[in-house]
């Protein structure tokens, strides 16, 4: 327990920021890069989680328990989003028999 406390004090907060920015960029890259809808959903999860980790890190460095509750709420919203997103994916597979995101381009123009 004492070691864990010193870990918060040793590692600078900037390193958490860099890590989370890196993960968020990878998630953004995946959303733009892939055509498979299920992988796009997973990249959105990755972006959610990088932001979650950053909020938790700020909360730990500020010794403020409200940040941890915010992370909890973000997890709730992410779970609801995944449930709806996956059901949309199932409906898309059923209707157009593919999970290619480029087939759903009618709202694009």
């Amino acid at each position: 327990m004492q070691d864990i406390t010193s870990a918060i004090q040793i590692i600078p907060l900037e390193h958490y920021v860099f890590l989370c920015v890196t993960l968020f960029s990878i998630g953004l890259l995946g959303v733009l890069f892939r055509r498979n809808t299920i992988i796009i959903l997973m990249c959105i999860e990755l972006m959610f989680n990088s932001v979650n980790l950053l909020v938790a890190a700020f909360s730990a460095y500020h010794s403020d328990p409200a940040g941890q509750v915010f992370v909890f709420f973000i997890m709730i919203v992410a779970a609801a989003e995944v449930a709806v997103g996956l059901s949309i994916l199932v409906m898309m597979k059923r209707n157009v028999d593919s999970v290619d995101i480029n087939l759903l381009n009618r709202l694009k123009w």
């Binding site: 890069f33 992988i39 409200a66 909890f72 709730i76 059901s87």
Partner: protein, 167 residues
């Protein structure tokens, strides 16, 4: 301890890159599970034990299993979808890299921590999080259950077979 931080960070970044780069969706899900377990390790390093356990249960235990079930039930593991055009892929890489550069440049020197509370390592424990959750955030906690109900109903309505309307 510092070594553990960098080890977990390297595992996370490498597995996140594997999520984006592998062809098969099953491999992407497995790489994302590795990434999430490493993230639970990060939560433990931050002494956020409640969040670590909730993260393992919710993400690795529920959401990723849901992804795997959808992939297996819909038989999506065949690699049939072509990749995007090379112009789109190059511009996607440029966009991601530019976003990374801008965020790093914007956040590089801006953090001066002036904590409002005296330093303690007890905030991530279940009792502290529970006290905050059920005292200050009781109403949002109850409202989130309404959000869950509506998400469940929405998922069921989307998932129902509708023969009359074809896309």
């Amino acid at each position: 301890m510092t070594f553990l931080f960098y080890l977990l960070s390297a595992i996370m970044v490498i597995s996140a890159l594997m999520v984006v780069s592998t062809r098969s969706p099953i491999n992407s899900v497995l790489a994302l599970i590795v990434c999430f377990i490493a993230m639970a390790g990060h939560y433990i390093l931050l002494n956020a034990q409640f969040l670590a356990v909730v993260h393992l249960i919710v993400y690795t235990g529920a959401i990723m299993v849901l992804f795997l079930f959808v992939i297996m039930l819909l038989n999506l593991n065949k690699v049939t979808i072509p990749t995007k055009t090379s112009v789109t892929r190059i511009s996607a890489v440029i966009t991601g890299g530019l976003f990374f550069l801008v965020m790093v440049a914007a956040t590089r020197l801006t953090f001066e921590i002036h904590p409002r509370y005296p330093f303690t390592n007890q905030i991530g424990l279940v009792s502290e999080v529970g006290k905050t959750l059920f005292k200050e955030f009781l109403l949002p906690f109850e409202v989130s259950s309404v959000l869950f109900i509506s998400a469940m109903i929405g998922a069921i309505m989307f998932g129902k077979k509708d023969e009359s309307k074809k896309l």
